[in-house]
Amino acid sequence: MQGILIKEFKLSASILSYLFIAFGLMFFIPGYPVLCGVFFVTLGIFQSFQSARESNDILFSALLPFSKRSVVKGKYIFVCIIELCSLIVMSIAVILRMSVFLNAQVYRANALMNANFFALGIAFVIFALFNSVFVGGFFKTAYRFARPFVTYIILSFLIVGIAEALHHFPGFENLNSFGTDNLPLQLILLAGGISFYCVVTFVSYKKSCERFEKIDL
């Protein structure tokens, strides 16, 4: 298993997957839909799938002394590690905005979503969607990814739009809490996002293993 992970990070990965982790820093940008940063991180991961396909990566992996399940597992672990790295960057931005920059006027006067724990929870939801729709969709054929990616783009921007606008609707104002305001609610929503991410990613991984087992390479 260690070998297949080394392969993912050294051979299959595009440098953009690593560089685009920095888009997590978009959580600092005031007056900007911060969740777009999540999308850009997944765009970086998409580049790895693209370059891997051009390099016959899947066939190469399938020939190594690992089971087909390990090949799928390697891809999912790679994707999750990149996502979790960007989530660490986003978390740092969220904590700083909740503490050091709590009263910064640029953030207070923000018409869009505040970067709080709820935003982080939504980031988990978008990543879960990427793992399910794109990565899971890719393993239907192990080479076609245009349709899964376009589907993911549409769904992710729908979620970004809803999440960014939701706090303007009556009854949802608390979603845009600053600092430790409504902390229990924020933490519950974050926990909901994390749970969603774990369940959806695991189900997607299981399905991908089944699909990949049936594919003729």
């Binding site: 050294k10 390099s55 016959n56 990566d57 190469f60 399938a62 020939l63 190594l64 390479l217």
Partner: protein, 247 residues
């Protein structure tokens, strides 16, 4: 002892069928898998590597079922697929640094020996290499983990006559070390030069699976080379197919 047994392999595609393919490979033998382009050689090899799923049939390596012992079996075999490009922009040494970690039976001494034997430069990327060098790169990885069986799909395609000669000589050396070599080719002279056994496939069916001498005595006409024999058999198969089509 048989290192591989392929039993009653069937696979249907819209325009091609693999029909009841069965053969076995004995330990320490060089087996040439001959047939024209599209005869089904790669489909058989891919089935042997669990890359495609036959509709029916069984593949057994070293007495163990492939499906149930895939990882273990893959460590004991080396595979090379002609001129397939892996990571064209990565240097050979970067690819090898990963492959090395994947095999607990990796043999660095063998790797350095074959690196020198093939005259490969570790700092070159696949896109900087000729087709022949790419074949050699694939062979290098296949030979560097003490595989007991080499499965080589068109290893001599794209190689110049000198390299082909070197390769067939290498097969004989490997055989002396107890390694079995199973190579597919449409260059029949390579089979003639080094194979102990011949498996001839035509239109998805195994026509013959015999020791070379027996193949010659059974199918060759007097003074005919194996290449000429297979050409003649292939033409008669082709004619029979055309007649059947018209009927």
């Amino acid at each position: 002892m048989n290192v591989v047994q392929v039993k009653n392999l069937n696979k249907s595609y819209p325009s091609f069928d693999l029909k009841d393919v069965s053969f076995s490979i004995e330990e320490g033998r060089i087996v040439g898998f001959a047939g024209r382009n599209g005869a089904g050689k790669t489909t058989v090899i891919k089935s042997m590597l669990n890359l495609i799923h036959p509709d029916s049939g069984e593949i057994v390596f070293f007495g163990k079922n492939l499906k149930e012992n895939e990882t273990e079996i893959k460590k004991l075999i080396g595979y090379s697929a002609g001129t397939v490009n892996w990571y064209p922009r990565k240097k050979l040494k970067d690819i090898i640094s990963v492959v090395r970690k994947c095999y607990d039976n990796w043999d660095e001494k063998a790797y350095l020996k074959y690196l020198d034997f093939f005259g490969l430069d570790e700092n070159k990327t696949a896109q900087e290499m000729s087709e022949g060098m790419k074949v050699k790169c694939n062979l290098l990885t296949a030979l560097s983990h003490n595989a007991k069986l080499l499965i080589l799909d068109e290893p001599t395609s794209g190689l110049d006559p000198f390299s082909r000669d070197e390769l067939t000589t290498l097969f004989k050396e490997l055989k002396n070390d107890g390694v079995s070599v199973f190579f597919s080719t449409h260059i029949i002279s390579d089979v003639e030069k080094c194979a102990d056994d011949i498996i001839y496939i035509s239109q998805g069916k195994i026509v013959a699976s015999l020791p070379k001498a027996e193949f010659v005595s059974r199918f060759s006409e007097e003074g005919e080379s194996i290449e000429e024999t297979i050409l003649r058999m292939e033409r008669s198969n082709e004619n029979a197919r055309h007649i059947n089509k018209r009927v």
